[in-house]
Symmetry: C2
Subunit: 289 residues, 2 copies
């Protein structure tokens, strides 16, 4: 799988598997209502990946708000999403000159025919290209081996950690820093760090929407803390700070406070121009294992 | 002012100036609707403090949700609040066994008699005392001088930085690490760090609600970056991870990425038992100065 990005034809932004799987169709005559199909291709274990869901909601807001780029997005994961039909209802909260605020919810119909809310999102959107140029960043990109010296999914299988689907791994070009994959061979570092290079398997470059996927696409830091099993996200907030340049991203996760059965997971994403393009933090339930 | 905490009678949680200023009155016959009065006592410059407003909204959610303690709260600051009457409208999004999710908005009436939304909040609440005991924290409390060796507001006046009201400073027992107040004498460190001890001037101890105030109560990191003027919060997310023990808190702010006219401000709050009781991050507009 790790060779796919090079071998496969290069998909364009707007016409890639990621774009098709996060597509939302405006419902005629119902402003802010979008039909969608949650793809089984972006599942891990028994769950639809939270970053994929965030990108789908982000796309609906991008279509409904006056500004197109996510700047700050917060999602509350209320109930477990399943592959299949879904509806997004989006509303504009405030439309400003340089920024607009919106809210969106993802719904699915349960076995008894009732509509259940899966995720609620509140967000601020802007035009990232219109932000002023100045950068004063004291943060440093993560130190990690080159893309070639990192390990693909074939080298460090994640399926042993959660069981079930690994479909999402076929769609990511994910190469992890060997220093942070000891958990895959029963030797977690205990530091709560996971780092890697992240592209999309079909070669599509990243954009602000795929950054919403990227902040929740790596194995969880709980694995590196020696915990096995599912780490469900309760809340995730991401700030998209710049449009990434083409090429794989460096993604660094860290957890510093596991307490009360909960942990925070911080994520930084750097692009090939050494720009900090996204920061996120999620609050998740720690596995018992 | 810095001596007030010792000299004044000790106010109890529930019967302090903070509690009265964040009080919300349920409106008879209208579930989830609360009347409030935004106090001029918690203003800085020309603005009502964002942490104070968050605590007021947090109190309304605490009263309307099945769980009483804020666990994760995200606020989008839409328009500038003013001292005076306000209305909070809260709704339960989902009521679970160990956690409930809610949403609330703060409204005020403008000069033309129109209701304007000031802030929208989405939150997860729980019972902090019911969380499991285990703690595995690799984060370390901030290194800073003792409370006695830090500087009170009388020593390091903030009014030169923004102009206007300093009313909130009379209600806080704030003592800043001398290493992070160079900006007050024209010598900011440039590191983007502000640290200090934070109590309430009337001696009220902290609780989860006052932590919502505490995450936005110190001078902004932009001062330490050498920037003067107002740093308006666009979005703030706080995770309350434990009930604080009595006594002043250590609050540490840092900014690592000022770019595109925006900056993130991370906040960690530690209590006297060396427990990381809250983590927050806000996205703010950087001053031009």
């Amino acid at each position: 799988m790790t060779g796919m990005a090079t071998a496969s034809p290069r998909a364009d932004i707007g016409d890639s598997e990621f774009d098709r799987a996060t597509a939302v169709a405006p419902r005629a005559g119902e402003a802010g209502v979008y039909d969608a199909e949650l793809s089984a291709g972006w599942t891990i274990g028994s769950a639809v990946n939270g970053g994929y869901l965030l990108a789908l909601l982000g796309r609906a807001l991008s279509g409904s708000l006056p500004h197109r780029d996510p700047l700050t997005v917060t999602a509350h994961y209320l109930t477990a999403s399943r592959p299949g039909p879904a509806v997004v209802r989006a509303q504009t909260v405030r439309a400003g000159r340089t920024m607009s605020s919106g809210q969106a919810s993802l719904f699915q119909t349960d076995d008894k025919g009732r509509e259940v809310e899966r995720i609620r999102v509140i967000a601020g959107y802007c035009d990232l290209a219109a932000l002023p140029d100045g950068v004063r960043t004291s943060a440093k990109p993560p130190r990690m081996p080159s893309y070639e010296d990192c390990l693909g999914s074939a080298d460090a299988p994640a399926e042993g950690q959660v069981g079930g689907s690994t479909a999402i791994l076929e769609r990511l070009d994910l190469r992890l820093d060997p220093a942070t994959v000891g958990w895959a061979v029963g030797a977690p570092s205990g530091l709560g760090r996971v780092r890697g290079w992240l592209g999309l398997a079909d070669g599509r470059d990243h954009d602000p929407l795929s950054l919403l996927l990227a902040v929740d696409a790596l194995p969880p830091t709980s694995f590196d803390l020696g915990l096995k099993g599912w780490t469900p996200t309760l809340e995730l907030t991401v700030h998209v700070r710049a449009r990434p340049v083409p090429g794989p991203l460096r993604v660094a996760l860290s957890t510093r406070n596991l307490a009360g059965g909960l942990l925070e997971e911080d994520c930084e994403i750097w692009d090939g121009a050494d720009r900090l393009v996204a920061q996120s933090r999620q609050l998740a339930r720690a596995p018992r294992g």
